[in-house]
């Protein structure tokens, strides 16, 4: 039996009110680890194309990474896996904070919630003791209140709590699962799934040991990571979020992805870095870490009226969506989204979408209860969010997410609804960086979040010497064979070579799979500029921690197994090449960008796709080949697909 593994899964069926503890399958751990691996496997097995995302048979699967809760810095994450009501396909949402380690200490690697409760309930998992409790009195409470009340009720101030807010209760499509201090399982409709099950909250507490195999080795490896982290290159907080503010805005797809920017906007963008930096220095009250993590990427701000709010590096996002260039507004924006349990990025997009429609006359005052929707108006933005969370007036329409809202509104709104596979997508860089658009198009979750990594967004654009130093100092976390692409750099249009894009993209999918299956934060794996854990080191950590003999090649095999299973899942749901290719808004291809950028060509796009599929071992339609599936040990997938008439070549 692998170390670090609790060996027990918990299933709660809210329809029947049953609680089942199940011995885990060590063989599956060997093949898929836990976290994303376990979630994908369960979803494949039980949430077939016949199951609608909003049916009681959809599952809400929380699984901690196999390394979660160990002494390894950064190993504290868990994942929520489900069929997304927004995209209708596979979805995963990563959860930081302290929930994952606590779930393991309670004795469980994976929690599966199935069914649907007739009335609001919450779960209280106190080690071996598991209860489904009435939550009628919690309905309508915001996440902070809910956490406080639940902790009081279970008489344990150390219980870890996740819950939904009003948005989740109201089945808002972009509702989140909130954990507090800026941690949530945010994108893809997690909160809607939880709300649809009438599950308000899950509280967990435990005191079980998490065992480690090779003690001394794991300790030494962890100290190596700590040493890397303690260097000044790796403290996120000192690389002020203000920098990202500027970068984020520079790349921002203003005016609901139209990219329009007047001179006034440009002036405000220029001014923004100093403004943000001043604000942060003055108002940041603390830097927060998740379990066992000293990166402190979450920054706490005090809002005199309404308490503490947590931001990561993206306070610029509300500015892009609303053109309100005021850090205090960003904090307010984050706070109101957290309060309702609403995805910040999707909320911003929906606001931008609504204002855009109004400015174009597609929405009128009649639709908005008399509210005049305009850019640069903080009250309008916050009022729209409130309406969305409460499903009031125009908010009820927008609460279905941009894709569905556009179809309810009609009148050409569909043309202005920029989504990727129906999902509201991150409004920064999509139009300006072809390789980023490519990553989004081909992600297994229709999302950019943290996918772009710093290698492409920052390091690739540094001078040659800096790139060489980067590799020399050991920060290059990708496999050795990709080094040469970094050294080569981008061309004069800031575009990396096509082969590099495909190779990195292929790797990133694997790296993400490993991060989410081990529970290690992607900041340690490749997202942050100075990632402390290369794939080789990860393999060592896995071996030392679990006692399973996993070298780099084996880690890659596991990663590919997960990637291919997820792809197969989506293929089984009907996803094909066309869905990837066309997922990017068409004006990305139509746009004439300023020099030195070049226009994106459909041919180039198709060729990139071909090459990427080839590297992944998928056919031209994006279906994993038989060979690929067999090599990944996924013969049961082949069988299932074939039974459904999908023939892998």
């Amino acid at each position: 039996m692998p170390y670090c593994w609790m060996g027990t899964d918990l299933e709660v069926d809210l329809s029947c009110g049953t609680i089942e503890k199940r011995a885990g399958d060590a063989g599956l751990v060997r093949d898929y680890l836990t976290g994303k691996g376990a979630g994908a496997k369960i979803l494949w097995d039980r949430v077939t194309p016949e199951v609608d995302a909003l049916s009681p048979d959809n599952l809400f699967i929380i699984s901690s990474g196999i390394l979660t809760g160990t002494v390894i810095p950064g190993a504290g994450h868990s994942t929520v896996t489900y069929k997304s009501p927004i995209t209708g396909i596979y979805c995963i949402s990563n959860l930081g904070g302290f929930f994952g380690p606590e779930l393991k200490r309670a004795g469980y690697d994976t929690l599966v919630v199935s069914g649907k409760s007739p009335t609001p309930v919450y779960l209280w998992i106190n080690g071996d003791h598991v209860e489904i409790r009435d939550a009628s009195h919690l309905w309508g409470k915001d996440p902070e209140e809910t956490r406080q009340l639940v902790r009081q009720e279970v008489k344990n101030s150390r219980a870890q709590v996740i819950c939904i807010g009003l948005a989740g209760e109201n089945r808002v499509y972009n509702a989140t699962v909130e954990h507090g201090t800026g941690d949530c399982a945010g994108r893809g409709g997690t909160g809607m799934v939880m709300g649809d099950k009438n599950l308000k909250a899950i509280a967990v507490y435990g005191t079980k040991d998490i065992q480690m195999a090779d003690r001394g080795r794991l300790f030494d490896l962890s100290e190596i990571i700590l040493k890397k982290l303690s260097g000044n290159r790796s403290v996120i907080v000192e690389n002020s979020a203000a920098t990202y503010y500027r970068t984020g805005i520079r790349w921002g797809d203003f005016c609901n992805f139209s990219g329009e920017r007047g001179p006034e906007l440009e002036a405000q963008i220029r001014d923004m870095k100093r403004k943000a930096s001043d604000y942060m220095q003055q108002h940041r009250s603390r830097e927060i870490g998740c379990f066992n993590c000293a990166l402190r990427c979450k920054h706490e701000y005090r809002n005199p009226d309404s308490g503490y709010t947590f931001l990561k590096c993206a306070p610029y996002y509300p500015a892009i969506c609303t053109q309100v260039f005021d850090p205090a507004f960003s904090v307010q924006f984050y706070q109101i989204c957290n309060k309702y349990g609403l995805d910040i990025y999707a909320a911003g997009n929906m606001v931008a979408f609504a204002i855009d429609l109004y400015q174009r006359g597609i929405l009128t005052k009649e639709d908005t209860d008399g509210m005049h929707l305009e850019w640069r108006n903080p009250e309008v933005a916050l009022a729209l969010i409130e309406k969305i969370a409460k499903r009031e007036g125009i908010g009820d329409v927008l609460a279905d997410g941009t894709y569905r809202a556009a179809r309810r509104i009609g009148k050409g709104a569909e043309e202005r609804a920029i989504t990727v596979k129906k999902m509201d997508v991150y409004m920064s860089g999509l139009m300006h960086r072809h390789h980023i658009a490519f990553m989004v198009a081909h992600n297994d979750k229709a999302d950019l979040m943290k996918l772009e990594g710093s290698t492409f967004s920052v390091i690739m654009h540094l001078p040659q010497e800096a790139r060489e130093a980067y590799v020399r100092e050991g920060w290059f976390a990708y496999p050795k064979e990709l080094e040469k692409y970094l050294i080569e750099g981008t061309d004069e249009t800031h575009t990396p070579p096509a082969e590099a894009v495909c190779q990195f993209k292929a790797h990133d999918l694997e790296q993400f799979a490993l991060a989410d299956a081990t529970g290690i934060c992607v900041y340690y794996m490749h997202f942050w500029m100075y990632p402390a854990i290369s794939r080789a080191l990860l393999a060592e950590l896995l071996t030392a921690a679990t006692g399973m003999d996993i070298d780099e090649a084996e880690a890659t095999r596991i990663a590919r197994r997960i990637v291919n299973l997820v792809r197969a899942y989506n293929v089984r749901e009907g996803l094909r090449r066309k869905d990837d290719i066309d997922s990017i808004p068409k004006h990305v291809f139509e746009r004439n960008p300023p020099a030195p950028e070049v226009k994106l060509d459909r041919d180039v796009w198709n060729k990139l796709t071909d090459r990427f599929y080839e590297i992944r071992g998928w056919d031209k339609e994006g279906i994993p080949t038989r060979q690929t599936l067999t090599e990944s040990g996924l013969d049961y997938v082949i069988e299932d697909l074939e039974r459904r008439g999908i023939r892998a070549s």
Binding site: G69, T70, V71, P73, F98, R105, E144, R147, Q148, S157, R158, G180, T181, T207, K208, D209, I210, Q211, M212, R215, G216, L218, F219, L226, L229, S230, V235, S285, R286, E287, I288, G289, C290, F291, N292, C293, A294, R296, E300, R302, G307, Y308
Partner: protein, 147 residues
């Protein structure tokens, strides 16, 4: 004058990021065999977190006591409220802190003396919330108590 060494683990609560790595390394390093497990419940340092009020206070386990407090108290410092046990180091019956899960054996910070190390919670605290200091302190010569 005789002297003795007092070991101080100083806590700058303003710097605590709440990550609880100190709890992990403490429980791991004091485990038998060493580093065989992680379990904050076995840690001799615990972080009091009240996320809603920006309270993050690492507390080192102090002596064991077999009674609980009859009267409790919360402390407000600089306008911020700290819960009844936020600053308390005691291993006591009114909470499961600083007692081994299941066995209930009291835990007490030994500044890593038992494992012949500098305090590992300090070493592993990258937020520099915890710092270590050793002070040579004069002690009064013990005068034998009258019989």
């Amino acid at each position: 004058m005789a002297t003795r060494k007092i070991k101080y683990i100083n806590i700058d609560a303003d710097k605590c990021s709440g990550c609880r790595l100190c709890e992990s390394i403490c429980s791991a390093s004091h485990a038998d065999p060493p580093y065989s497990l992680v379990n904050p419940g076995r840690s001799r340092i615990r972080v009091f977190r009240d996320e809603d009020n920006d309270v993050y206070i690492p507390v080192l386990a102090g002596p064991y006591t077999d009674v609980e407090c009859l009267g409790r108290n919360t402390v407000m410092v600089k306008g911020k409220e700290y819960g009844e046990c936020s600053f308390c180091r005691a291993s006591c019956p009114s909470r499961d802190l600083f007692r081994e899960p299941e066995t209930d054996i009291p835990l007490k910070c030994d500044t890593c003396e038992s494992i012949n190390s500098e305090p590992l919670c300090v070493k592993w605290c990258l937020s520099k919330c915890l710092t270590f200091e050793e002070v040579e302190e004069e002690v009064e010569e013990e005068t034998p108590a009258a019989a």
